[in-house]
């Protein structure tokens, strides 16, 4: 039977992600509400205002670089007196997180970016690579998650234990809340992303919490993925050795993909026979590969309410082909028998700890309004009207180790209310696009480049 009270159940399961005392407005906004998506607007506003004002003051007081940005914009924490003032909080362009030096200076850059105390980090070697620095920070308890667009330039975000745990709790709550009609901790999961234990690539790292949410997790990509491997997979090689590595990766991909699809197909078969509840979480194109195989073999299943799919990271399935979300849901329904209300998409990115999830009723992206404030802005940085398209920007009330007030390269359309369900607050259209000309980015695209032999 699906759980009755999501918060109660998850607070028990995810107790390691909850601090012993909940004291700050950010923590209250995250851990107190019974629901992320069903709060009355007034209550959600109260939590969000508290969390973001607190986060803003925290970064202003503890982050020299962001304080400078605020000074240039003539804003102080005292100027933020209501949610209406949120538009005054200076946004940092997502490109900023791609503008860093290399070697030892990269470590210094990361440390200067942080708004929380930098623990003792020991960096070895005169010219450490990005991976060396990431490993050194990891040893000190700071997760430096990364992501890469097609230009091969990485985005790096340092998360201390505090921010990382809040982010993990947030994604767990967000995902399960929208899938509560399906959820049972006794379910089994297949992660369509890299093994979180073997990479700091954000798409892998962020799903670590899945190991706590379900009883058993299989992983599609069970190999180490460093910045070097990701860059080479993006087609950016700096020397002969890397060129050779690139060729070897591509050559090995075919067999690895074959094994991966085989494992997925066998897993589906096994789970179906056992009558298990299942969850696929991750890049849609990977599940699509398994669906292709099942279709070729003329197999289909009827998981019905026992099955769920939570996708994320974008919808590119081939070099020049995008998979329409609705078509994907139809395929999932036809081949796995999983109903559309159990097939949801999650929108997130390395820079944020806000997880927008489709509602089962209409597949619109709902915002966890208790701690996350979304702005959709035009070219002049002004908020667009409801019903209009614009650049996705956000104020993250639980990003403590770095200023999470960021404008992104994504284009979204915002509505005042969900046209399909009764949950309060603004929603985004079901599909998100890149702003044209911004480099193609998306966790699924990263995965696609890593595993496809194209």
């Amino acid at each position: 039977m699906p759980v009755e009270n999501v918060k109660e159940t998850l607070d028990e399961i995810l107790h390691d992600y909850i601090p012993s005392s909940i004291s700050t407005p950010s923590e209250k906004a995250l851990y107190e509400p019974d629901t992320f998506y069903g709060l009355p607007q007034k209550k959600a506003d109260e939590y969000r205002y508290g969390a973001i004002k607190y986060a803003f003051r925290h970064h202003y007081e503890n982050n020299r670089f962001y304080r400078e940005v605020c000074r240039e914009n003539g804003v102080t924490p005292d100027d933020i007196r209501s949610i209406d003032d949120f538009s005054r909080i200076p946004l940092i362009t997502h490109k900023f997180f791609k503008d860093y030096p290399s070697g030892r200076d990269f470590a210094v850059w990361l440390a200067n970016l942080m708004s929380t105390e930098v623990p003792k980090v020991v960096i070895k070697g005169k010219n450490p690579s990005f991976d060396d620095v990431i490993d050194a920070f990891a040893e000190a308890g700071v997760v430096v998650a990364f992501s890469s667009g097609t230009t091969g330039k990485f985005t790096f975000i340092p998360r201390d234990a505090w921010t990382y745990k809040m982010g993990q709790y947030a994604i767990g709550r967000s995902a399960i809340e929208m899938l509560k009609h399906w959820y049972e901790p006794d379910a089994s999961g297949f992660l369509l992303f890299p093994n979180p234990k073997k990479t700091n690539i954000y798409v892998g790292k962020v799903t670590n919490v899945m190991y706590d949410l379900v009883k058993d997790v299989q992983v599609a990509i069970d190999r180490e993925i460093t910045t070097q491997i990701l860059r080479i997979s993006m087609g950016v090689t700096f020397n002969f050795k890397e060129k050779m590595m690139s060729k070897m990766i591509k050559a090995a991909s075919k067999k690895m993909n074959e094994d991966m699809v085989k494992r997925m197909v066998n897993w589906i078969d096994e789970m179906y026979k056992k009558g298990e509840r299942i969850l696929f979480a991750g890049a849609p194109f990977i599940l699509n590969m398994a669906l292709d195989r099942l279709e070729e073999e003329g197999k289909s299943y009827d998981f019905g309410e026992r099955g769920a799919v939570l996708t994320g990271g974008g919808w590119k399935i081939h070099e020049d082909k995008r998979l329409p979300v609705e078509v994907f849901r139809e395929r999932v329904g036809k081949i796995l028998g999983i109903p559309p209300e159990n097939c949801l998409d999650l929108y997130a990115m390395v820079e944020s700890n806000g997880f927008l999830v489709h509602c089962p009723e209409g597949h619109y992206f709902h915002i966890p309004q208790n701690y996350f404030h979304v702005r959709v802005i035009d070219d002049d940085g002004e908020d667009v009207a409801y019903g209009e398209e614009g650049r996705f920007a956000f104020l993250d009330g639980i990003a403590m180790s770095y200023p999470g007030f960021i404008s992104t390269g994504d284009k979204v359309k915002i509505h005042e209310r969900c046209p399909a369900c009764g949950r309060e607050g603004p929603v985004l259209e079901p599909e998100v696009e890149r702003i044209k000309g911004e480099e193609i980015r998306g966790c699924a695209e990263e995965m696609r480049r890593i595993i496809m032999e194209e």
Partner: protein, 321 residues
């Protein structure tokens, strides 16, 4: 001779070869997938060519004895498709103030001449004088013309080439108008090759990006580039690991390009040229209405708020061993 060829960049650098070889398969794939479309597009191009007009300037007459730089020093000497000893180049360089004006002023005049007069168009690769006579060219044509004029006037000049991602308005105007180009760009996530020039003034290499005329910049909502403005982060984002500094262009650089724009995908090329030409007309209206200076000031103010910089301060807890 081999050393000189290498210095001059006549032998294609490995990085450029990699960029080209990396980009070609996706282009071939796109073309092979849509043969009928490409054929129809080429046929339509024959009937509906784009008229970019005649150059708006007269090339000054060469007079025997005009001074020009005869040095064989690196970055001053002639290179492939960039001949500072050509008579028209010498005449124009003199007309723009070579050996009369201070270096910066002369370089600025050259920059403004190329920027304001040479319209961006996807034509086949040819010599700097061809670009000058025609009044159109790709960014690489413009760089060659800029470099040739600078070198003729005794200023060292070189190429900085790279693959890049474009900002939205440029993507819409140049890429999206051609389904073939769009598929190619989307497959790569970037455009294969772009470049800026660099001119050596007072002990420093100064960036010069004369690619767009002011009209086109206005249509795209970009600031009006000046000598020294780097387009990186303004309208383009270079692909990591593709930046190349070259004295000259390699032999064979234009073979595949010429085949593409003059024959294989001529129709698509014309679509892009037409789109850029229409944009220039719109941009002219914007500049006439606002005035160039006012337009530039208002757009620059917007661009100033771009990427904040972190000052790298020592952090006591960071220990380097």
């Amino acid at each position: 001779m081999f050393r000189e060829w290498r210095e001059k960049g006549y032998i294609m650098p490995a990085r450029m070869l990699r960029v080209t070889m990396g980009a070609l398969p996706s282009l071939i794939k796109v073309l092979l997938r849509h043969p009928v479309y490409v054929m129809k597009s080429n046929l339509a191009a024959r009937k509906n060519a784009v008229d970019l007009g005649r150059p708006s300037y007269e090339i000054p007459e060469y007079v025997e004895g005009m001074p020009y730089c005869k040095s064989n020093e690196r970055y001053l000497r002639p290179t492939h498709l960039c001949n500072p000893h050509a008579k028209e180049i010498i005449a124009l360089a003199n007309h723009l103030g070579a050996y009369k004006l201070p270096d910066w002023e002369f370089a600025e005049n050259v920059f403004n001449f190329v920027k304001k007069n040479i319209k961006l168009a996807f034509v086949g690769m040819d010599r700097e004088v061809d670009t000058l006579r025609r009044g159109t060219g790709t960014c690489v044509h413009q760089l060659s013309l800029f470099a040739a004029l600078c070198r003729a006037g005794g200023l060292k000049a070189r190429y900085k080439l790279y693959s890049l991602a474009l900002v939205e308005p440029l993507y819409e105007n140049m890429i999206e108008v051609s389904p073939i180009m769009k598929s190619w760009y989307d497959a790569l996530g970037s455009f294969m090759l772009h470049g800026t020039a660099e001119v050596y003034i007072d002990g420093e290499w100064v960036v010069a990006d004369p690619t767009f005329t002011p009209e086109y910049e206005a249509a795209m909502g970009l600031p009006l580039a000046k000598l020294g403005d780097d387009p990186m982060g303004i309208w383009n984002y270079p692909l990591e690991g593709t930046v190349m500094l070259l004295e000259g262009l390699p032999y064979g650089v234009g073979v595949a390009w010429n085949f593409l724009v003059n024959f294989l995908a001529k129709g698509e090329r014309i679509k892009i040229d037409r789109s850029m030409n229409e944009a220039r007309k719109k941009g002219r209206e914007i500049l006439d209405e606002m005035g160039e200076e006012e337009y530039d000031a208002s757009v620059r103010a917007k661009y100033e708020a771009k990427i904040p910089k972190i000052t790298l301060e020592k952090v006591p807890n960071l220990v380097f061993e």
